[in-house]
Symmetry: C2
DNA sequence: CTCGGTGCAAAGCTTTTGCATCCGC
DNA sequence: GCGGATGCAAAAGCTTTGCACCGAG
C-alpha cells in the first residue's frame, strides 16, 4: 500500500502538469490546499477545509479555496457531492477506489460501497443514447437496521 | 394511457390520505401547488414554480412552496434532485416511470433513462450492508457526441 | 514588468425563520 | 375559538464577485 507521502507526491505532480497544460500559476496556496485535502480522510465541506487551514494559521481566503477546488475538480483530483443538504461535500479522488454512497435517512450516516455492475450500466446507457460517459454518481437512500441508528453518527465517517 | 385529469385526481387522493394520516390541514394552497406541479412536464426549481403561480395571480409565498414541497417529498409525490448547480430541481413522481439521469457536461442537456439492473445493485448492497434501501439516485455525466452539443439545449427537456 | 491570483469584504442567490394574521378543523 | 398554516420580509448560509495589492513567470 502506498504511503501518504508517496501519494501526495504523485498527486502534486499531476496537479503541476495540469497547471502547466493550462498555463496557470503554481502558487503556494494552491499546493497548500491540495495537501490539506489529501491529508483529510472522508468528506469535507468548504467551511471545514477553510477553518482547518485558518486554525493552522495558514493565510488563505474562501475565494481561493473555491477557486482551487474548481481546478482540482477539473483535473479529477477531487470529487464534489451534493447529497441531501445544501452544502457541497468534497472528497479527494486520486488513489481512492471508485466508490458510491449509501445514506441513512434517519441518522445521516454515510457509507461507501463498490459494485462493478455499475460500469455495465454506464456502458449500455452510453451506447444507446450516444454519449461518452466519463463518470457517475450513485446514491442509495435507506435506513440502517438494528436500532443503533437512533443515535447520531458522524456524518462523514 | 391515463389522462392528465385522472392522474391528478389520483394524486390528490394520495396527498389527502397523507395529510389525514399526519393530521395536517388540507389548505387550498397545498392543493394548488400540487396541481401546478402535476401540470408541469420535466424538471423545475422553486423559483420557476413560484413565478409560474404568481403569473397566474395565485397568492402564494415562497415559504409555503418550500413547506409544501417538503410534504410532497415525504409522501413520494415529488422527487428532489441536486444535480450540478446550486438550485434544487424537483420533478413530479407519481405515474412516472422510475428513471435516472444522464447529463451532458458540455451543453447541460438532461436525458432520462431506465435500467432495471440498478434494482439488483440496490438489493445486493442493502443485503451486504444491512440497510433497507428505499430509493436511489443515479446520475451519469458525459458528453453527447456528434457536435450539435455546441448549441445550448433547454436544460430540463 | 505584467497580469493572473490572492485576500478581504460586499453582494448574490437559494432557502429558512420570525411574527402577525388567517382559516381549517 | 384554537392552533396550525400562510404571507411577508428579514435573516441565514453557501458561493461568487469587485477591487486593490501581491508575486509567479
Amino acid at each position: 500500500m502506498k504511503s501518504k507521502v508517496a501519494t501526495y507526491k504523485k498527486v502534486k505532480q499531476l496537479f503541476t502538469s495540469y497547471l502547466d497544460s493550462k498555463s496557470l500559476r503554481k502558487t503556494p496556496e494552491r499546493y497548500a490546499i491540495l495537501e490539506e485535502i489529501y491529508a483529510w480522510s472522508g468528506h469535507f465541506d468548504v467551511e471545514e477545509l477553510y477553518g482547518n487551514m485558518k486554525d493552522k494559521n495558514y493565510r488563505v481566503s474562501r475565494a481561493t479555496v473555491y477557486n482551487t477546488l474548481d481546478l482540482l475538480l477539473a483535473c479529477d483530483l477531487v470529487t464534489k457531492h451534493r447529497f441531501g443538504k445544501n452544502v457541497a461535500q468534497y472528497e479527494k479522488s486520486f488513489a481512492c477506489k471508485q466508490h458510491d454512497h449509501l445514506i441513512c435517512t434517519n441518522c445521516h450516516k454515510v457509507l461507501e460501497f463498490c459494485d462493478p455492475r455499475i460500469q455495465n450500466i454506464q456502458k449500455t446507457v452510453g451506447n444507446i443514447l450516444n454519449f461518452n460517459i466519463f463518470h457517475h454518481s450513485l446514491v442509495l437512500y435507506g435506513s440502517c437496521n438494528k436500532g443503533n441508528c437512533e443515535n447520531r453518527f458522524l456524518e462523514n465517517q
